[in-house]
């Protein structure tokens, strides 16, 4: 069924015979700004909610005050076992359909766009940050980096099956360009910036 050989052959004949060198990326991303302030500003602008906390207990306190604890809250962070369950990571992903809040860690955050890098080893399940009604992500303040160039330097050859940058809550503007938060994924995103 495959046309592989035919396609590759045609490409070989068609592609330009040019020495088109790859550019140097090191000259990019030297933008100077206060990364933490930039991170918070950008996150607010795209509908997210930055909260600075000293430790996990402050995050727990915030969640207790702002989310309905009687609903299903899941996490992959053992320190949060007081308010969220941990034993869901091997379940059928469809069973997460009634999750109200997912709380996960991020490897790092990017100031220029407020994106947080997460991979399946800290997600529990790939669908967890998407299927939930609300999402909270915890990231260390020291792990906020300026731009996407530093982000990929940091990712390097990291091994993962799945990884994603998450920047703000799920959104759409497909009806008359009116912004609506909560298209298919989480309706809201709180980012705990931890000392």
């Amino acid at each position: 069924m495959s046309s592989k050989a035919e396609i590759l052959n045609k490409i070989k004949q068609s592609q330009p015979n040019l020495a088109a060198e790859l550019p140097d990326l090191n000259v990019l991303g030297s933008d100077q700004f206060d990364v933490l302030e930039m991170y918070k500003t950008v996150l607010r602008n795209i509908g997210g909610n930055p909260i600075e906390v000293a430790d996990y207990s402050e995050a727990i306190a915030y969640i207790k005050n702002n989310y309905p604890l009687e609903k299903r809250i899941i996490t992959t962070i053992p320190e949060l076992s007081e308010i969220a369950v941990l034993d869901w990571t091997n379940d059928d992903p469809h069973s997460l359909k009634d999750v109200e809040l997912t709380i996960i860690n991020a490897h790092f955050g990017v100031a220029e766009n407020s994106a947080l890098w997460v991979t399946d080893d800290i997600l529990g399940q790939r669908v967890a940050p998407f299927i939930t009604q609300y999402l909270a992500i915890i990231v260390n303040k020291k792990d906020i980096i300026p731009t996407m160039h530093q982000a990929y330097d940091r990712i390097g050859n990291q091994e993962y099956g799945f990884g994603t940058f998450i920047a703000g809550p799920s959104k759409t503007a497909d009806i008359e360009q009116s912004l609506v938060l909560g298209a298919h994924g989480a309706r809201g995103l709180t980012v705990f910036l931890k000392d």
Binding site: L8, D31, I46, R126, F130, I131, Y160, I175, S178
Partner: protein, 466 residues
């Protein structure tokens, strides 16, 4: 679908312009997106360098496409991804159908993929008894209305909330007359959540495929690609082969450019990197040619394959904003569509490179620096040479060429009948009526410049004095 008669761009645009309010709204809404893009781009000091860098990376990809594709396949297979190759739209559709049949799937959820629009996959699968539901809100709306998307990033930008409300009332039973975008979006969310939870197969597009690692990246704001892919047993990702980039770190460049160019956002909400399937599940990648290797061989036009589908050229195009995406009768509309479409079918799309004033704004916003307006110009030359323009136009042009090459004839023609006004600007049938429909003619002065010059120039005065 393909047997439908094509309505030429100018004719469709004339129809679109009958509703002035709608045109104004369409123009202003897309201009607003262009302004958001400007604001966002102008905040990045390195912006122009980023564009240049992206352009160079893509040039490198075009020159090494064969090897990068081979690398990508090998690395993807190492990751446990199943790779397929499709020479054309038909083979692409057959492969997707074959995968679905193998898993006994009758219903599939799909996130945005312009490639599947190009291949008319939905119609193909419908004929085979397979139901496809588009999950991107804009695509979902146009699918319910049995329309194609009119914009690659904003599929329903030709519609107003009243239209959406009407459509949802009819298909989803939403409250009649409730136009609130929040309410309408919430209704679609509820409806589609059930779809995500019950589909065994999900199809997505691909924004970037990385040769070095064999992974691919899908960008969405809604999270619909992820909702589909992570809940399904089978994830099918379809890509034109030009989606390739060499290394993972190059994503830093493209992800900085893509969303800023598209909507002015600093990045899409989700930029998901798929490297391996979940345990016991499958990821299939279908690599599609469908004319791309031909385009790669056209030296003047191969740069069009650098496109990352941000839609910035559409938002900035003064013609697109005032004619609407459907007037381009091609899956990809606007300036970029007009240089891609003739490669797919010259005679069907011969009108598109002419649907431009060659103003060049598209080239300036393009994040990978495709010389779009120069390619429009070059396609015009090709289309004329291949005989895709009306004979009457060719005859008129030949007459013009003869007169303009001969000053004596030109001067006679100018005097006797104002040759220029009859023939320029290029009035193919020597009829000024189209100009005159909504514009007055310039007044004819008593003498032409050259007549004045003969009498009044320093040279002629000096001659008289001799």
């Amino acid at each position: 679908m393909s047997s439908e008669k094509i309505i030429e761009h100018s004719q469709a645009a004339t129809r679109f312009n009958k509703d002035v309010e709608r045109v104004n709204w369409h123009d202003e809404t897309l201009w607003f997106v262009r302004e958001k893009r400007d604001k966002s781009a102008h905040q990045i000091p390195d912006w122009e360098l980023l564009r240049e860098t992206a352009s160079q990376i893509k040039n490198n990809v075009l020159a090494n496409m064969h090897d990068y594709l081979s690398d990508f396949e090998a690395n993807a297979q190492k990751n446990g991804i199943i790779v397929h190759w499709a020479a054309d739209a038909k083979e692409h559709n057959e492969i997707v159908h074959w995968i679905l049949q193998k898993h006994d799937v009758k219903q599939m959820v799909k996130s945005k993929s312009m490639l599947t629009e190009e291949c008319h996959l939905n119609d193909y699968l419908a004929d085979k008894g397979i139901e496809v539901i588009d999950s991107d809100l804009g695509e979902y709306i146009v699918q319910l209305r049995k329309e194609p998307p009119s914009h690659i990033v904003l599929p329903a930008i030709h519609l107003k909330k009243e239209d959406v409300s009407e459509t949802f009332h009819e298909h989803l039973g939403t409250e009649k007359g409730n136009f609130d975008p929040q309410y309408l979006t919430e209704s679609a969310r509820r409806e589609l959540r059930d779809t995500f939870l019950t589909r065994k197969a999900a199809l997505t597009g691909v924004n970037f495929a990385i040769a070095e690692t064999g992974e691919f990246v899908v960008c969405t704001n809604e999270g619909n690609a992820d909702m589909g892919a992570h809940l399904a047993d089978v994830h099918i990702a379809c890509m034109g082969f030009e989606k390739l980039i060499p290394e993972r770190k190059h994503l830093g460049v493209f992800l900085r450019l893509l969303a800023r160019s598209a909507t002015g956002q600093p990045i899409t909400t989700f930029s998901s990197h798929f490297k391996k399937p979940r345990d016991g599940k499958e990821i299939h990648v279908v690599i599609v040619d469908n004319g791309r290797s031909t385009q790669l061989g056209r030296a003047d036009f191969r740069n069009s394959l650098k496109c990352i589908r941000c839609g910035a050229c559409m938002n900035t195009c003064p013609v697109y904003r005032r004619s609407g995406g459907h007037s381009y009768h091609n899956a990809v509309a606007g300036p970029i569509g007009s240089i891609l479409a003739p490669n797919l079918d010259m005679s069907k799309n011969a009108d598109l490179p002419f649907a431009s004033t060659l103003c060049g704004s598209c080239t300036n916003v393009c994040p990978v620096k495709i010389d779009i307006h120069d390619q429009l110009y070059k396609w015009r030359q090709v289309l004329v040479k291949k005989g895709h323009t009306p004979t009457s136009k060719t005859i008129a042009m030949k007459t013009m060429a003869t007169v303009l090459a001969n000053p004596t004839v030109f001067n006679l023609a100018g005097k006797s009948g104002r040759f220029v006004m009859k023939n320029i600007p290029g009035l193919v049938n020597n009829k000024m009526n189209k100009w005159y429909d909504q514009r007055e003619m310039p007044e004819v002065p008593e003498e032409s410049f050259r007549e004045w010059y003969k009498k009044n120039s320093r040279e002629s005065k000096a001659k008289k004095d001799e």
